[in-house]
Amino acid sequence: MIKITDLEKIYRTEDIETVALNKLSFEVKEGEFVAIMGPSGCGKSTLLNILGLLDDPDGGSFVFNNEEIAHYSESKRAQIRKRNIGFVFQSFNLIDELTVFENVELPLIYLNMKASERKEKVEEVLKKMQVMHRRNHYPQQLSGGQQQRVAVARAVVNNPKLILADEPTGNLDSSNGNEVMQLLTDLNEQGTTIIMVTHSEHDARYSHRIIRLLDGQMVLENSLI
């Protein structure tokens, strides 16, 4: 599903150049659950953003679903992104002005889905995430765990093939964290590919494979299966 070769990302500010990704190569197959670990600043988020087509690499190749997309335009990337990829962030990133229902509905709106169909899908996923009773609340009225479940609901509502999660449990206590990890595992079992950045060895154990980064390079790749 994903194959990157010699991927590079360099941040240039006025006087310093930061090599965030240094000729990184690896492959993720469909249906895999991959964890990415490494010390702070090693390039994990940078990698995830590129894999999520939010950012473009400075060099190397990025093949997504057999398509070379390293140099796609922003609008083309947005097209692929909205059909294939769901995101979960450490800080939930829900829109404060929209209700739970409206937040989850958002990706479907951008897919130009009919309102009735949207309602059905959103309610189905809200039930699954056990936040149906909160559908008309605003994000600030929910607990962190509930917010993250809403975020996961939003990430999966359009049945993406790939879910990218950047420290999804980072802001949660352990019981809420485990619940979210269980949700991701369930999704993975239903066939969704998941790539997750985490600092927690405990969470990493939910995955099939761990990629360890240091200074933008892969230092270790160990499979748990």
Partner: protein, 807 residues
């Protein structure tokens, strides 16, 4: 998808109440100004369009010019009486033709109902064939046919006859002639360039006691007959106009050295163009002005622009607060276009809300604006389909104009940056915002300067010495019935110590100088014609002392029972155009004016007979040969007891003219009225300038609040390091004040150019002084500084520990 956009637009509106208030208030006031101007323009361009024939009706106009230089000396909207018949005979193209003469205030009486009736017109029955009148009683095709017939509007009929049927009743004019009522008509609407109240049959003028058949056929000198003709659908008036010079030469032959077409010309003007574009010397009523339409449109658009800039500035400044939302939307699949659409939707929604508020504002402001501007726009004008369509469409356009920049700016945020919190709003966006602030303040400063100059000119005109004493002069309409016993009338007047003097004249100052004839002056032993264009006023021997006009040389008219008809008095301007070396040289010189021989006996000072829009023209005073030349009586009263003086004038009038209603005017009020258009322009300017500055300041207030919030940490650190409140206010205001300075530098030349053009309409005008510019700059700077300080002081006195902890 749009529902989602509207929802978030409304929620944002509620969440950021202060910003929303600034935006909504500014945009709604801006739109209200546009709406007001739009209804005003709609009204102005609708003039005379209600006539069924409107597109094919033309007015025949006449100009006089110097045959040598071609310089215009007189531009008239009316022509001489013979033209109507001659034109119709000579040009088969003319389908119909009519003419009328507004008669001026006319004493009319029925039983004990006696009024000085305004808007009495001599008109013929073809008026109804050409113009669309609504005749409610009588037969329009015959009512004005017979001599001594009269038609009235419904209101006028009520005035004279109360509830009873006016038909066939007799109305007495000027206590001399009886007219039979043959019809009643509905008055023309406000958007007509003429408004007859009473129409007396034109055929009456054939009576030699009134004007005479012969005069109608041959008098090419009396150009007071407004003549309208109908051309066939689609025919070109230019083609007809091209034949006018030959036509004039064919019919006018005065034996002089020039052909008629060399010194006079006829033109056609389309009926519907008269109100906005015609500014002849003798317009029937005060016309509108296309220039005023442009000026007001520009001001309305300026205010709207300022409001749009507020929206742009505040939306982009607020972007920091919305960055997260934008990032998330992009992450879940929004493309740039979808975000642009969303933000445009938001601005359109806000503009629509503003439009509804604008509609209400306009509704409330309309009567008040009418009173300031002298318009007669009714609230109904707002409920026309095209006004309502405008309210729907215009916000759409404005929303897109105001929203496009914020939309492009916001939609280009990179989600990675935004969500990782590393977004810095700065660089380019700030400098563009600064350009917009400069633009707002340039407009505001320009408007301040314009307002100040308009008022300075007004003050100058009202305060300028006119060269005679205009105070405490009461003017009356003379009446033929006074001719025989005027001396007794005057003596009775002067018997009261409150009455200082009284004199008669054909025209009074504040009116126009439109009468002129050819003149001859002695050259060697004989008289030779001059090329001088000298206006004539018939005055009696008391006129000059009544007005306190200064005799520079020679003497006033002799005071005896017979008129001193061989004496001519001229002003200094006439001395110059006659080519005389000095005023002394003029005295005793043989002079002929309009065929009457005599000599120059006096020179008086150049005084402002007309408004200050006009140059001082060469004038000759002569005495009237008959007694009918004096249409006006001017009475100088003492300033100590004007009511007593007035009471005495009235009782004297009633004694001598019991059949004629008493009516008077104060001369200085006449002069005030000459500048009414400018006075209104001044008040409208002031209002709009105030609104513009207020909206600009609201925007600045919001913007500085944002900028200062962004610098809150810097302020904290500076305070910790020992900066005083004063230092911090200075630091925070400095950048904005720089912008105001730049705005002033841009505004100065633009305002100078605009006002230079505006002043060109006045023959006597102020010089634009630098003081006005400096003052406008200082006002803008003070207002801007006060606005920013409100925010800056709040930030500066805040506890630095708090602001540092928030980081």
């Amino acid at each position: 998808m749009f529902r989602n956009y509207f929802k978030i637009a409304l929620r944002n509106l509620m969440k950021y109440k202060f910003i929303s208030f600034i935006n909504l208030f500014g945009l709604s006031v801006g739109l209200a100004c546009c709406l007001l101007i739009f209804t005003y323009i709609r009204y102005e361009v609708s003039f005379d369009r209600f006539h069924k024939n409107a597109d094919n009706i033309y007015r025949v106009q006449r100009t006089f010019n110097d045959p040598e230089t071609g310089n215009m000396s007189l531009e008239l909207g009316a022509v001489a009486p013979p033209f109507a018949t001659l034109l119709e005979n000579d040009f088969k193209d003319i389908k119909n033709i009519t003419r009328f003469i507004p008669n001026g205030p006319t004493p009319l009486r029925y039983d004990d109902k006696m009024f000085n009736q305004d808007d009495v017109y001599w008109a013929d029955e073809r008026l109804f064939e050409i113009f669309s009148f609504d005749v409610s009683k009588g037969n329009p095709s015959t009512a004005l046919k017979e001599p001594f017939s009269v038609m009235l509007t419904e209101e006028a009929a009520k005035k004279y006859f109360g509830g009873s049927d006016p038909m066939d009743k007799m109305i007495r004019m000027n206590n001399q002639f009886n007219f039979k009522v043959t019809g009643v008509f509905k008055p023309l609407p406000g958007n007509s360039h003429f408004h007859p109240e009473v129409m007396v049959s034109f055929s009456t003028l054939r009576d030699s006691a009134i004007y005479g058949e012969e005069q109608l056929r041959t008098n090419f000198g009396n150009n007071s007959f407004y003549t309208y003709l109908v051309l066939p659908e689609g025919s070109d008036p230019k083609r007809l106009e091209a034949q006018f010079p030959a036509f004039l030469n064919r019919h006018i032959n005065d034996g002089g050295p020039y052909k008629a077409s060399q010194y006079t010309a006829l033109q056609l003007i389309k009926l519907t163009d008269i109100h906005l574009t015609s500014h002849r010397d003798d317009e029937i009523e005060e016309n509108g002005d296309i220039k005023r339409v442009y000026i007001f449109s520009a001001i309305a658009l300026f205010i709207l622009l300022i409001a749009c800039i507020n929206y742009m500035n505040l939306s982009t400044a607020r972007s920091v607060l919305r960055a997260k939302e934008i990032g998330i939307r992009k992450v879940v699949g929004a493309g740039k276009n979808e975000l642009i659409t969303q933000f445009l939707c938001e601005s359109v929604v806000i503009c629509w809300i503003a439009a509804i508020m604008a509609f209400i504002f306009t509704w409330i402001a309309l009567p008040w604006l009418n009173s300031v501007s002298g318009q007669q726009l009714s609230g109904d004008a707002l409920f026309q389909w095209n006004v309502l369509a405008l309210i729907l469409i215009f916000p759409f356009l404005v929303g897109i104009i105001a929203g496009i920049y914020p939309a492009l700016f916001l939609s280009s945020f990179q989600p990675v940056r935004v969500l990782s919190g590393s977004l810095k709003v700065g660089g380019k966006s700030i400098s563009f915002r600064q350009v917009l602030v400069v633009l707002q303040f340039s407009i505001s400063i320009m408007l301040i300067i314009c307002t100040a100059v308009v008022y300075q000119q007004l003050k100058y005109m009202q305060g300028k010495s006119l060269g005679f004493e205009k105070e405490h002069i009461i003017t009356l309409n003379n009446n033929v019935a006074l001719n025989e016993n005027y001396t007794a009338f005057r003596n009775t007047l002067l018997a009261d110590p409150n009455i200082k003097n009284a004199g008669r004249s054909s025209r009074i100052p504040s009116g126009r100088l439109l009468d002129a004839s050819g003149s001859q002056i002695s050259r060697g032993d004989s008289l030779a014609p001059t090329k001088a264009d000298i206006k004539v006023v018939s005055v009696d021997e008391d006129f000059i002392p009544t007005y306190g006009i200064t005799m520079l040389e020679g003497r006033n008219f002799r005071k005896n029972s017979a008129a001193d008809t061989s004496s001519y008095l001229i002003n200094e301007a006439a001395v110059r155009v006659l080519g005389l070396k000095s005023s002394q040289d003029a005295i005793g010189m043989a002079f002929q004016y309009g065929g009457r021989k005599g000599q120059l006996t006096g020179v008086f000072n150049d005084f402002h007979f007309e408004s200050l829009h006009q140059r001082i023209l060469p004038i000759v005073f002569r005495q009237s040969v008959g007694t009918d030349g004096y249409g006006n009586i001017s009475v100088k009263v003492s300033g100590t007891n004007v009511p007593a003086a007035l009471a005495h004038i009235e009782s004297t009038w009633k004694k001598f003219l019991p059949e004629i209603p008493f009516e008077y005017r104060f001369l200085d009020e006449n002069f005030e009225e000459l500048y009414r258009a400018e006075m209104r322009q001044g008040s409208v300017f002031t209002i709009f300038t105030g609104i513009a500055i207020f909206i600009a300041c609201l925007g600045l207030f919001g913007l500085s609040a944002f900028t200062i919030t962004q610098r809150i940490k810097e302020i904290g650190i500076r305070k910790v390091l020992g900066a005083s409140v004063k230092d911090i206010v200075f630091i925070l205001s400095k950048d904005f004040m720089k912008l105001v300075l730049i705005a002033a530098i841009i505004a100065f030349p633009v305002a100078w150019y605009a006002m230079h053009n505006w002043l060109a309409d006045f023959a006597y005008r102020i010089d634009i002084s630098w003081g006005v510019f400096i003052l406008a700059g200082i006002i803008a700077a003070i207002v801007a500084f006060a606005t920013i300080s409100l925010q800056a002081i709040k930030a500066a006195v805040a506890n630095p520990v708090k602001s540092l902890r928030t980081e």
